[in-house]
Amino acid sequence: MSTPLYSIPGTGAAPAAPDAPPAGGGAPEPRTVREVLARSNAGAVLEDLDRSLVGLAPVKARVRDIASLLVVDRLRMALGLRADAPSLHMSFTGNPGTGKTTVALRMAEILHRLGYVRRGHLVAVTRDDLVGQYIGHTAPKTREVLKKAMGGVLFIDEAYYLHRPENERDYGQEAIELLLQVMENERDDLVVIVAGYKAHMDVFFRSNPGLRSRIAHHIDFPDYGAADLLLIAERMLAAQNYRFGDGARAAFAEYLARRIEQPHFANARSVRNALDRARLRQASRLFGDADRELTRDDLTSIEAADIRASRVFSMAAASHAP
């Protein structure tokens, strides 16, 4: 009788569980950074990040560090040096419109391409998705979200809302404790990114020191300079098949210089809003000219007049007049 390919439990030693094939699949082990880069797509990821995001030097530096660690870990592994996966939980703080949410969305893809998370999907949640409305509702709700995020990135926007110090019976604390537990135990399977305004997040971390210490990367998003904002504006227009007409670019630079001085300036978000309003003005300008034959050029260009009609200019003129 031929021996079976399996063994019956309790009757003898079970055959060893099939091991994952070693990375590299028989190719010689890499010895230099360039060899590793050639095999992984870390280099392409970094180039892509540099090209597609304006400014944000601290963010890019941190992603570069994380990517370098991956490459060095591969080299160490080739020499038989063991390395644990690093803790990748992140906290994004910064003023409104500095790109926290945009970068978080990109981060899932970046970490996936670098090989740190298996799936690379992003589950974006806010307080409502984690915290329940009555006793016993919070834990299942939070656990369900955590299970959905496994293998990818969990992004908690406006995370400081989770903690409500004025209400000591608030269920937010329960969600935070569950979150801490999973961040600690399932570090290999889940990356948690919390984001929020700097001042609020500082208060939030002060009241939850455990959360602060479990997050390895605290990244502060700086405000954009005027030159960066102008570049962002051009990209936003290009993405929607618009462009600045003659003199419009200079007009917009002037607009930005005045808008930055005003209260409630929200960086890239203000730029987007300003451009949306300029598009509206362009549309009504074209609408007024009912008999004109509109060319592709007319339809795609934002003129200086569309920007100079903004409230910001008239307000500045009014304040200079007296």
């Binding site: 399996y6 019956i8 569980a17 999907h121 955590l146 959905k148 496994m150 399932e186």
Partner: protein
């Protein structure tokens, strides 16, 4: 148990194979997730083959992307019911109803005493047969005590 010399409960997939390791379970779960199935965990201490509906351990898990989520829940179930049968079931919703397409046991009691074949003499020389699990002699929740 002449036909099942190991005395193990054989229900669902893979039940004639050695117990799946967690890595193998994760592979099966990932296969199901890739096909769009929703996974559910059920447990029971009544192994009778006609006992179709086991107790649910939490809700079925929809919209998962990775097996790690299922394995967390499975770990919780194993800690709660270490001496119960636990099975994973995959539901396919493409036909408009959540129909079971995969089902396999992932946790067993340490000792499985098996089944007795009971014979009942009927009228004339007729014979009626029924299966009775030895474990089911004890009341519910007291079976499979170590």
């Amino acid at each position: 148990m002449m036909t099942n010399p190991t005395g193990r409960l054989t229900q669902g997939q893979f039940s004639f194979l050695p117990d799946l390791s967690d890595a193998e379970i994760a592979l099966q779960v990932d296969y199901g997730l890739a096909r769009g199935y929703a996974w559910s965990i059920e447990y029971s201490d009544d192994p009778h083959p006609r006992n179709t509906y086991w107790e649910m351990f939490g809700m079925p898990m929809f919209d998962l992307k990775d097996a790690a989520g299922v394995l967390i829940e499975l770990g919780a179930c194993r800690r709660t019911f270490p001496q119960h049968y636990i099975r994973l079931m995959a539901f396919d919703s493409t036909r408009g109803v959540e129909s079971v397409v995969m089902s396999f046991i992932v946790n067993r009691p340490e000792r499985e005493p098996g089944f007795a074949l009971e014979r009942q003499e009927g009228a004339g020389r007729s014979m009626r047969y029924t299966l009775r699990s030895y474990a089911a002699d004890a009341p519910e929740a007291e079976r499979y005590r170590r």
